[in-house]
Amino acid sequence: MSATKHSDLGLRIRQNMGFSIAVLLFVIVYFLYHLAHPKGFSSQVLVQNSNEVFSLAMLAMAQTVPVLLGGLDLSVGAVMTLVDCLASHLLEGTGASVGFGIIACLFAGALAGFVNGCVVVFGRIQPIIATLATGAVYMGLALFLRPIPGGKINEDINWAMTNALGDFAETVGIFDDGKAAWFQPVAGVPTALVLLIIVALVTWVPFRRSVTGRTVYAIGSAEGAAFMSGLNIAGGKLAAFTLAGLFAGIGGIFMAIQTSSGNADIPMAGAYTLSSIASVVIGGTSLLGGTGGAIGSIFGTLILKVISFNFRVFDIAPLLQPLFEGLVLLAAVSLGALSILRVKNQLELFR
């Protein structure tokens, strides 16, 4: 029994080689980081890291879905910025109005993604160029909402979401204000990390197991075959882009909560979009579509971010940081591509 289970695990690791390597790399590098950090293995460092990672991790998940289709979404950074600016208007009040604001922001993100999907499906324009254009439109809307950076977020939300679970419980007033004895072991866990895990479990995991999710994978590996198998191509594409918009929107809401303001910064949106593509690839998802997943992309983000964390503790000149990030990205994709040297038949290379 245990032998079959073991080989089953081995098979799964071999089938998800990119993902496995990403997880392993992250665990090693992050362990080294905590060893070198003066306050390593403490809740404080964990909270800080989680807050820095969350928005990009959401964007990486957002980018994953269109990439699985064999497309690309160049508007994820713009959607995040748009929702960030919207949230800086809507999350100012208290109680119910904040709840309504969050729902409105989620809806806005999903709507932006749905519009992308409509342009791709009904306009039949290539995703990369369609989202390049819609991204400009969303950026314009964001600038319209926030011509200059500003706005305000409910302070309780800011405090509750960007600290540890204990602070969250205290702000919300549950579990004896977070002082309950049974709660103490998890009180130091960062809220952002928990939120990330919840989002992944509630949205991505069911989506991947649904027929729509399988359709997205099928379209990515062979669109014609998916069509001939009677799958709903248009529905799958629309769902993929809408989900991408929703993820980007969650990233935008968190960014607004974290910075307590809205900022329509065009270069920043572009940089986030490009980092999301890098995260997806490092996380083991093929840019040709059909293989990979959003959980891998989260680890891709973690690796990208941990590298820059290490720059702080290992006292490397900050000016060298962009160079290292680029080299790591190139090394990661080049190592992943080395298997093609084993290919004997040249024709197998063309896809």
Binding site: R124, I129, A136, V137, P267, A337, I340
Partner: protein, 324 residues
């Protein structure tokens, strides 16, 4: 009469000419709309004056040279996202080296970047989207490390000023450079086997390979040409603004892709005429300029820019449905 209309109607145009005709018409629409605005507001019509148009062409020549290189790479169904920092690296190298070696040094930088891009895409078969993105980050890292993160203090040389900013017979030399690049590119694409190989690879790489096209070599050369043209644009831009600065190429990559696609080149490669790219560049430059004359805030500009790209593509850039 009806025959005449039929003769010139859009449906008679070939698949590759239709986008060019529509984009050119749209340029006229932009100019007329802008003129109506200026006539109403100031009582003058500067948009059709040669001074204004030549000035726009001069600004467009930088984007035009970048877009020319980008088109080659898009035609083989790849993309080059390393353009921003290749452009900046070219400009920074040129101003740092100075003297008569400024231009050759910058072009060598482009050559090296293009070779790396080409090797990664052709031999390792890494998707160009991610490989050139990594190369862009490395170039940025090298430039930041070299300049210390500040704008370099070095100035553009006399020659760079001469080819970018000075004029002969009232026409800036940058336009001549763009024209020369364009003529060479058109001859290359239409009259040489290398040019035809580019279209062949873009249409079906496996078929091109089986027909004896040296696909790897053609891919590498296309990437080299793209990077060399990007660094040339960097040199010109540094000459135009008398210095190189951080992030000077950031505003060029996405407009260059947009210009190529608006000009009717298929983003999946294999189809498109060079004239279309030129028309696309002029359209984007004029659109930006007219919107700023209209004192449109940045928000409105972005929205109109995006909507124009989408609506142009809805008219002629639609793909085919997968049905088998």
């Amino acid at each position: 009469m009806i025959d005449m209309i039929k003769k010139f109607s859009l449906s008679r145009l070939s698949r590759d000419d239709k986008p060019i005709a529509i984009a050119a018409t749209f340029i006229l629409v932009i100019l007329i709309a802008g003129t109506i605005y200026t006539l109403d507001r100031f009582g003058t019509a500067p948009l059709f004056s040669p001074t204004y148009l030549i000035q726009q062409l001069q600004i467009g020549s930088f984007l035009g040279i970048v877009a020319a290189g980008m088109m080659l790479v898009i035609l083989i169904s790849q993309i080059d996202l390393s353009v921003p920092w290749t452009l900046a690296a070219g400009a920074m190298t040129a101003t740092a080296v100075g003297g008569e070696w400024a231009l050759p040094a910058a072009l060598v930088v482009g050559l090296l970047v293009g070779t790396v891009n080409g090797l990664g895409v052709a031999y390792l078969r890494i998707p160009s989207m991610i490989f050139t993105l990594g190369v862009n980050a490395v170039m940025r890292g090298l430039m930041v490390a070299q300049t210390g993160g500040f704008a370099p203090q070095t100035k553009a040389t006399e020659l760079m000023r001469y080819i970018a900013a000075e004029r002969t017979l009232g026409i800036p030399h940058a336009i001549f450079v763009w024209l020369a690049v364009s003529i060479l590119l058109v001859i290359m694409l239409r009259r040489t086997s290398f040019g035809r190989s580019i279209y062949a690879i873009g249409n079906k790489e496996a078929a091109a390979y089986l027909s004896g096209v040296p696909t790897k070599r053609v891919t590498i050369i296309a990437f080299i040409l793209c990077s060399v043209l990007a660094s040339l644009a960097g040199v010109l831009l540094a000459g135009y603004s008398t210095k190189a600065y951080q992030g000077m190429g950031d505003a060029y990559v996405l407009p260059a892709i947009a210009a190529v696609v608006i000009g009717g080149t298929n983003i999946l490669g294999g189809r498109g005429r060079y004239l279309g790219t030129v028309v696309g560049v002029i359209l984007i430059v004029l659109l930006n300029s007219v919107l700023s004359i209209m004192e449109m805030p940045e928000a409105g500009r972005q929205i109109i820019y995006g909507l124009v790209i989408i609506s142009m593509l809805l008219v002629y850039g639609r793909g085919e449905k997968a049905t088998s």
